[in-house]
Symmetry: none
Subunit: 220 residues, 4 copies
DNA sequence: TATGAATGAGGTTTCATTCAT
DNA sequence: CATGAATGAAACCTCATTCAT
């Protein structure tokens, strides 16, 4: 009880609104991911995000500070997801050639199955990485890929199946580029060349072509 | 737009401001290209474009109808430029392997030299190609590449230097992807992997790697 | 006529809304002066100002950029008014003692008749002069007072009616302080000492006391 | 208030956080005094005050009801402090002229050493004394000054050193005005006249000039 | 054809305050 | 007593677009 007269207390119906904060955060993050992926940073509407959430607009600012803070959190979560799955691939147990094909195909499949991730990365690149640069977490997340790739490549060189002297980053870039493009440029490419890149058969064919291309580059 | 700090209106004497309408259009288009490429569609500001133009906002609406119409025109002009240069490459005069390398390297170089083109395509893909779909001109512009590519490929197959049975679109996609990614994802990639993709030496190295990758895929 | 189809044109009733921009600016400025004087900078509401104006909120931003820009303009106008009247006092035509009394009384009367000016200066001081510091015009406006004061003082010293060796700024400060306080601290002072400082007789008495005080300080 | 960047909640063990309630009140009051003095009533942020406190926002509302109640308490405490010191001056032991000089100089010095007091009074005047009017304590606090002043003045008149017939409140007002202005209008005055009013030498000089002015008004 | 003025609708953000535990 | 979570209302500001001359 307050020791001074309490001014105008509004009693609200006791809805079941008590949530655990982590769930609220997650709810916002999920909705925001979709909205930013769909409309870009400037095109996304905080109002729209709030409306699709179980909480209010006010909570978005409570948890994430501002629109940019929310976008940074969305990016971090998106990168965290792919890197986590990636590190569970267990490539060490496969022969180098197999392992490389597996990695290339995983990259391709993941990005095709998760166009939101690809679109968020596109959006962030339009903004010249300014949000990623504000994130402390990002740096730690992304080194593991290169490590895995390096081990596999070196095994392959030792086995005599891969050309020596290649740059790990080059290999990663090639895999990423071929996988990424298939999602990122699908709209314009399909439109211009009347080629449906999203069909099941097209995806299967292209995934194989991509793996071939990568392996062709590596092969002795 | 605000007029802050310039409340004193200067009534300009009706000089002969008669401009060549095509020049006005071009002026607007040039400025708009930079603005859309820099900030995306939603992030671009009509006011900003008008301010950097030698004409007024009214003219933008007069010539292009609305912001979307302007963006469509910007896209059309950007595609027209690359296709025009592409068709001047004269690949028919070169042996197939050389011609393919030339085409891959040109694609890579052009996109690296014209990041605005790449960024506009990214932006349009974020919008799922909706503006391109409104354009009548685009369709006509982009078939020629495939034609050139097909001829070169078939010459190579006939000469026995290329594998038969490949899909022309696959080849084009591979070239585009590897060239495009180098510009489109430069910000995030550089940031995450601490790898400067824009330096002169990095570009030269990567261009060669890209050409190798493409040729490796084609080679018998 | 536009060369492209015009999207959704809303025809508004042809109200008489065509204003000359200087009038619009003045209208906003007048209303804003009252609002800022009444509620301070943070307490003032742009919405409220707009509502009392013949134009819209949007126009405030069009002409003044933001709330701070508006406040700066309000301050500039307020200072301009008092300095303009001040410079019309024609003190040079009076004997020094008379001239000083006239200046002290004018200062007192003006500030009592224009509490908004006093309150704006209070508000600006709460903000540590940050808005005034942004104004280019202010500096030029306020030198003339000191000049007038100096001439009068020196005439008085020459005539043997004023003590020599006094600081012009000290004299100005004393006049200002005594006049200002009567308005600035009226609320708290009246409340605490049960003394109505605003009545006609109180003002007349106090004005004389203030003039006496200033002249007492100057007198040989 | 936002919790940004600290999403990991620390469930604190229910330590013995039992604080002396008076200490909590004082803590809040100290912080609030600084915040209100710095930013005015509307400009002050309850969140900010809470953040700088050793307790939580809830306690502010528990002890003071609302923002206005807190401001009233801040004002009361500020007035209580100056009046307490004032009553300890022991002017009765000094000859009238000395005593008056002492009082004028004390007023000047106290206000210059306690700009927060001056600023709070400014803020309250902007609000037309509405908070002070709500306070019961204030009235009792401020009569003593006049009493002291009256005794001193009458002694001076009896001694033949002061002019008879002056109004006690006039004298108090003159002292207050000259002292107050030096703090209240320092920002704008310094800015406009390029005169540093806060330096040690400027303060010493001005204090003397103020005392002279007051005594000049009183002197027979 | 050209320009500054004008605007409705909606965008992001902030604030004092209250609730559940 | 104490704390983090929650919130409605309203604040400031921006945007694409149109109008009057």
């Amino acid at each position: 009880m307050s020791i001074v007269k309490s001014p105008a207390r509004r009693r609200r119906a006791p809805e079941i609104r008590r949530q655990n904060p982590e769930a609220v955060r997650q709810d916002i993050l999920t909705v925001a991911t979709a909205e930013f992926a769909e409309n870009g940073f400037s095109g996304a509407r905080v109002d729209e995000i709030a409306a699709r959430t179980r909480t209010s607009k006010r909570m978005i600012y409570y948890y994430f500070g501002d629109k940019e803070g929310l976008f940074v959190a969305v990016l971090e979560a998106a990168y965290a997801r792919i890197r986590e799955i990636e590190s569970g691939l267990d490539l060490a147990g496969l022969p180098p050639m197999e392992a490389m094909r597996r990695l290339a195909e995983f990259t391709f499949t993941y990005q095709n199955d998760n166009p939101d991730f690809v679109r968020l990365v596109m959006v962030e690149n339009i903004h010249r990485g300014s949000h990623l640069a504000r994130s402390a977490k990002i740096q730690a997340l992304n080194v593991s890929v290169l490590q895995t790739l390096r081990e596999t490549y070196e095994r392959g060189v030792a086995d005599g199946v891969f050309r020596p002297g290649l740059d790990i980053i080059d290999i990663h870039m090639t895999m990423s580029a071929l996988a990424f493009f298939n999602v990122s440029n699908r709209s314009t490419f399909s439109l211009i060349f009347k080629h449906n890149m999203g069909s099941r058969t097209a995806l299967t064919r292209r995934r194989q072509a991509v793996a071939e291309t990568v392996l062709g580059y590596l092969r002795r």
